[in-house]
Amino acid sequence: MRHLSEDEMVELYYGEGAREADAHLKACRECSRKYTDFSRSLEEIRPAAVPHRSADYGDRVWETLRPRLIPYEKTASSRGWMQWRVAAMSVGCALLLAAVFFGGRYWERNKTKTADFKDHPQATQRVVVVVLSDHLDRTERLLVQLEHSESPDTAGNAQLQSEARELLASNRLYRVTASNTGDAALAGALDRLEGVLAEIANDPNLTAADLKRVRMDMNTKGILFEIRVLHARSQEQGTKGASI
């Protein structure tokens, strides 16, 4: 019988546990005893009393804030008129662009027969693969740097942190896309990677000890391995695409 892990107990405590875990807790005396001890320890962590704010606190905040605010100048009617003007100009621009585009296509088709981009979806896919491959390449380098970062040099850590911040934003986009397209392996790896990037990016004073803790707590070696496999896979897809 597999007993409940601490993470499962955390989920149960906050009412987000799996049904199986709940059933196990009811059936297993040992886990039930551990869980009682666990919940008692969390109940002891009480919130610090929030300093009392008087009833006019909101008024005071507003009085301080008010001089700093610049009123929105648009009135309802001018806003509506502006919206119409913007919409009309957008439609005009779109029509002009469409005319130029289709005119150009027509002219080109008559002049010479060229390969149609639409007939080659691989070309689009190749661009996506190259961009993803670049992201994986950067994250792989960051993880390698993290694995070997032992020096107490904060300047080096700051560089690592700024790289993590840049990668965090793009990683989120790739993860959501991978998740939407049903690529579970990629989405899972990027999800775990995001945790590591967030830890490094948000640490106020990134020291060698912090990096060591991140390496140990989040199994960065395992993530590095996953990223390498995915990177190799995306490179392979890129090569296949190029040869088509």
């Binding site: 955390v10 919130p47 009393a49 507003w62 993860r175 106020p204």
Partner: protein
């Protein structure tokens, strides 16, 4: 209240700056509470309230009416607080404050028992809890505060902190693990 907030936002966007005051009055206490719980510092929490409402005003055009204004401004405040505790040197300042001004740590509600020994013990436990909280990383601390003290779901935490749901969950797990480990010696005396 939500419908009312939406009409106030509309009024502000067509030039009625004063209308924003109603939103500030209605939500400043909740914003102060979460800011204080994350920073653990009254002055910082006050500043975060100002900053959150100022940012909220400046970004009001991007406010989507699908969510309540209270939730929206709450998210901005959590982000301001996270930025504040992530700033280098801030954590050290808090620790320094704790060392030089022990009164600061006695903001907890003491036991109703008038027994001085119990009061002292309760204060010690509270101080240890605060120190343990300060040792968490900013993401862990925010995630824990939102889950444990603010009773937010994991998906809400992920949304507020702009991280993946699994990363939010892991941050809460690590925070719980660290806090239990740090506070284990006190459990016998409590």
């Amino acid at each position: 209240m939500q419908g009312n907030d939406h009409s106030v936002v509309r009024a502000v966007l067509v030039g009625d700056k004063e209308a924003y005051g109603a939103l500030v009055r209605a939500h400043s206490a909740a914003v102060f509470r979460v800011a204080f719980r994350i920073t653990g510092n009254e002055a910082d929490a006050e500043e975060i309230v100002q900053e959150a409402f100022l940012r909220g005003y400046q970004r009001l055009e991007s406010y989507e009416r699908r969510s309540a204004f209270g939730t929206w401004i709450y998210r901005i405040a959590v982000n301001c607080a996270l930025n504040r505790v992530s700033r280098p040197g801030i954590e050290a300042e808090y620790r320094h404050g704790e060392e030089t001004d022990p009164e600061e740590k006695t903001v907890q509600v003491a036991s109703r028992d008038a027994d001085p020994e119990r009061v002292l013990l309760s204060q010690e436990i509270n101080a240890a809890q605060q120190t343990a909280m300060q040792r968490l990383t900013p993401t862990e601390k925010c995630a824990f505060v939102l889950r444990h003290l603010e009773d937010r779901s994991m998906s809400e935490i992920a949304e507020v902190l702009e991280i993946a749901p699994n990363a939010a969950k892991q941050a809460v797990f690590r925070a719980v693990q660290k806090l239990r480990r740090e506070l284990a010696p006190l459990r016998g005396t409590a």
